[in-house]
């Protein structure tokens, strides 16, 4: 018998060519190959039909090494060009034997992608699919969704997405927010004298959101979760303490400005009183004058004492306000599940009451000393009666100063989303809330009721009580309800900034699923005026459940908003009542592009597609787009059959020369009936 090796050619393929399918065994079989001491690109492999199904019969460690062939685009490592092999335990691989029927030198040429039907479990035995995760390649799925498939479907290789943690949780179990700060509000630096109020409310709002990211069950939080909550409250307390100095300074300044003329008048009246009294007694004007002056002079030091208090009052109040801020924040965190505007109002009002109480007590003895001339001036009464004191030091503009009204630029920003409309500062509401809470507390105290230490010092606010989130409050006019929204209402479009005002619009919905949908258009209901540039557009809803709808406004030379086009339709926006039907009314040329010809056509994605013709400038910029067949090129139909738009309309310009045009649909309610005359205008140019 001839030794078979003597007749072998030792050339790949000439001694038989054997394909095989195998499995990468568990990582423990790979030895130093996976621990930094490997050689080449190779892996142990258990080959079907050649190796037993039993790891006892042939342990993984004794399997042959298989070389891995790389695609030419991967690089070999030469000249710093290369990429590593990404095979993992449990992968099913495909290859051939370099030595033909000897089957001792396997080569891996490819691998089979995993599907969702491949079990992602721990290793159980040879050829049974198992996970590619190991002790050193771990993923708990909290920051990057756990995934072991690369199928061509929407569920494969799930990515984190740009939504808040709460939104991600409500979208689905595998959804992950890609940054925990998403959804937080940032208040920018501003020239507004009352910006501190916005800063305070922003901090409280963000705290509520952040705590809800930590846990949805705040009342039962314990251990590390409780520590995290307390840590956040402490951080925000310190921040609000600092911001509050603006509020304190503003109120003290206003008090002194208001008090000065009262004391001045009192001082003058005192002179008159003393003068007339002494004159009546002595009949000597010089005596009377000296007595009057002496009476005034006796009050110079007490008045000076009031001025001397000026630098100290603010610091003393700020030094003690932290405890109250922390307590109120804890109440808000415990009691409020939806940060509505009245919560912000009450929070600031509680600080106002603390400041009023603090100023009153700090200055009371000094005021006692000037009681002769204060005419019963009540510090707390004055502070409670002037909402402008809360609003900050508003100086008048000099003739060369340009008004920087805060409608010109962006005041607030939502991380991940963009510019947010400034909610405004309800200064009157803040003072009203402060006074009502104080009156409630005083009334209860008068009746001998126990109101608690916190309510005693700042008043009885709804945010201090869990009933503020009671559904029984929902729907009551004037009540502050901070529980989960009972109804989301309808999605709103806010138009703001660039010095204009008055523009309003309503959304058009498409891609509707149940009671929610995407925003596929916007109908201008008021063009507003005074817009220097296209204003900002914010699409929002009361439940903060919609996300991703982005609109941009267009204005005319008169500073009026002419249209809003949709850049991204978003999803999950509450549609409110039964939606109307809409059609494409006209088309906005957002960017005219270049190089287009009048013979180019535009097609949309509505129904089976409509066709439009364009008008261009001599240098190929699109100036106008007009429909030529409102239905289809081959099926002219009555205009009453104008096609209803149900999804975001998109357009394709068919051109061999042009590029860069961006065109967007402008939607309008579908007419109930269309006059016959319009049919004649819809000339089908393609089929003629």
């Amino acid at each position: 018998m001839l030794d078979s090796s003597l007749v072998q050619s030792k050339f790949v393929g000439r001694d038989g060519f054997r394909w095989w399918i195998g499995q990468i065994p568990q990582v423990s079989a790979q030895g130093n190959q996976v621990n930094g001491g490997g050689w080449g690109n190779r892996s142990k492999v258990r080959i079907m039909g050649y190796h037993p199904y039993s790891a006892v019969e042939l342990p993984d460690e004794d399997l042959p090494w298989a070389q891995v062939l790389l695609p030419t685009t991967a690089g070999t490592g030469a000249a710093n060009s290369g990429s590593n092999v990404k095979l993992h335990p449990g992968d099913t691989v495909f290859g051939f034997f370099m030595d033909g029927d000897n089957a001792q030198i396997p080569v891996i040429v490819g691998c089979f992608g995993r599907t969702s039907q491949v079990p992602s479990t721990d290793y159980r035995g040879p050829f049974i699919p198992f996970t590619g995760y190991t002790d050193k390649i771990k993923n708990d799925g909290s920051r990057n969704p756990k995934n072991e498939t690369n199928e061509q479907n929407a569920a494969s290789a799930k990515a984190p997405r740009n939504v808040s943690t709460q939104q991600a949780q409500s979208i689905g179990p595998k959804e992950v927010s890609y940054f925990r700060g998403i959804g937080d509000i940032v208040s920018f630096a501003t020239t507004s004298p009352s910006s501190f109020i916005n800063k305070i409310t922003t901090e409280v709002n963000n705290l509520v959101q952040k705590i809800q990211k930590i846990t949805s069950d705040i009342k039962n939080a314990a251990g590390r979760v409780k520590d995290l909550i307390n840590k956040e409250i402490k951080k925000v307390t310190a921040k609000i303490q600092k911001i509050s100095s603006g509020l304190v300074g503003s109120m003290i300044n206003g008090l002194y400005q208001g008090m000065a003329p009262v004391l001045n008048a009192g001082l003058k009246a005192l002179y008159k009183t003393v003068y007339s009294t002494v004159l009546a007694a002595t009949k000597i004007p010089a005596f009377a004058h000296r007595a009057g002056v002496a009476a005034q002079a006796a009050l110079v030091k007490p008045i000076s004492e009031i001025q001397n208090l000026l630098p100290c009052i603010a610091n003393k109040i700020l030094g003690t306000i932290a405890g109250t801020i922390g307590s109120v924040l804890s109440s808000v965190v415990n009691n409020v599940s939806n940060f509505v505007s009245c919560v912000a109002t009450q929070f600031v009002a509680s600080l106002v009451n603390f400041v009023i109480g603090g100023v009153g007590s700090q200055i009371s003895s000094a005021m006692q000393a000037v009681s002769k001339i204060s005419g019963g001036f009540s510090v707390t009464g004055f502070l409670r009666g002037n909402s402008s004191l809360i609003g900050g030091l508003i100086g008048s503009l000099s003739c060369n100063e340009v008004s920087q009204n805060n409608t010109s630029n962006v005041q607030q920003w939502e991380i991940g989303k963009g510019a947010k409309q400034d909610p405004g500062i309800p200064i009157d509401d803040i003072l009203k809330s402060a006074n009502e809470a104080d009156a409630l507390a005083q009334s209860a105290i008068t009746l001998g009721e126990s109101v608690g230490g916190l309510a005693n010092s700042i008043g009885m606010f709804g945010i201090l009580n869990s009933s503020i989130s009671s559904p029984s409050l929902a729907g009551i006019v004037g009540a502050c309800y901070a529980g989960p929204p009972v109804t989301c209402g309808k999605t709103k479009i806010n138009i703001f900034g660039t010095n204009g005002s008055g523009a309003t619009a309503i959304p058009v919905f498409g891609s509707i699923v149940g009671t929610v949908g995407s925003v596929i258009g916007a109908i201008i209901t008021n063009s507003g005026s005074g817009y220097d540039f296209p204003p900002f557009v914010e699409i929002t809803d009361a439940c903060n459940q919609g996300y991703g709808a982005i609109g941009r406004a267009m204005i005319n030379d008169n500073g009026e908003v002419t249209s809003i086009y949709i850049v991204s339709e978003g999803e999950n926006y509450p549609i409110g009542s039964e939606p109307e039907e809409h059609i494409v009314e006209n088309i906005d040329v957002v960017d005219p592009g270049t190089g287009y010809k009048n013979t180019d056509i535009v097609q949309d994605n509505i129904g089976i597609g409509n066709t439009y013709i364009i008008e261009t400038t001599p240098d190929g910029k699109i100036t106008k787009i007009k429909p030529i067949n409102i239905l289809t090129a081959t099926t002219p139909a009555p205009a009453t059959a104008l096609q209803t738009v149900t999804d975001l309309p998109t357009f394709t310009v068919k051109s061999e020369t042009g590029s860069g045009a961006i065109i967007k649909a402008n939607l309008a309610p579908k007419p109930k009936s269309v006059p016959q005359g319009q049919i004649e205008q819809n000339i089908d140019c393609i089929t003629k």
Binding site: I171, F179, V186, L267, A297, Q307, G570
Partner: protein, 180 residues
């Protein structure tokens, strides 16, 4: 909670490469985010769960997020008079905000603030200007409005407002032994 119908999501255009659980590149992922769906995302996660993301969304916003410090250093080899880091807003504002209890700190051998129009500095509490040598104020008009202090003009102080027009307005400084 309902996502838009899958027929309206362009999965055909999506492309991704994942490099294990710590880093992924995702392109044209149609899943919706706050600023529209994703054009691209470079997404990384550390063993400690810290995130780093650079991405662009269809709303046109580029995001750079990082759970911990973002370090930008330029100019190690540039000329001393050159520009090492250039940040420009072509049309809108440049907003820098230090949240919580952070400070905005700027240090340089000299600092220039050059505003075409007004410079406004708001301090919730104190504003301190300290120069080791001198402070020059130059303007066509310079005003000071304060209730007290040695820079406050007589007519704006609290004491003067209270004493104005009384017989002790001229005597008060003598009574107190100091300027009002």
């Amino acid at each position: 909670m309902a996502q838009r119908p899958i027929k309206n999501q362009n999965w055909q255009g999506r492309s991704f490469t994942t490099f294990g659980p710590k880093f992924r590149i995702d392109m044209a992922n149609p899943q919706m985010g706050l600023n529209g769906s994703s054009v691209y995302d470079l997404y990384a996660v550390s063993d400690n769960g810290d995130i780093s993301l650079i991405g662009l969304s269809e709303g046109g916003m580029m995001h750079v997020y990082n759970d911990n410090t973002i370090e930008i250093v330029g100019g190690e080899k540039s000329e001393t008079t050159g520009v090492d880091i250039m940040i420009t807003g072509k049309n809108g504002d440049i907003c820098i905000t230090a949240e919580k209890n952070g400070q905005v700190r700027i240090r340089a051998s000299s600092i220039v603030i050059d505003a075409d129009m007004d410079v406004t500095i708001n301090a919730g509490n104190n504003l301190k200007l300290k120069a080791a040598n001198k402070i020059d104020l130059q303007s066509n008009i310079a005003n000071c409005d304060a209730l007290a202090g040695n820079l406050a003009p007589q007519e704006t102080t609290f004491m003067n407002k209270v004493l104005k027009g009384t017989y002790v307005s001229d005597l008060a400084a003598g009574i107190l032994g100091k300027k009002l």
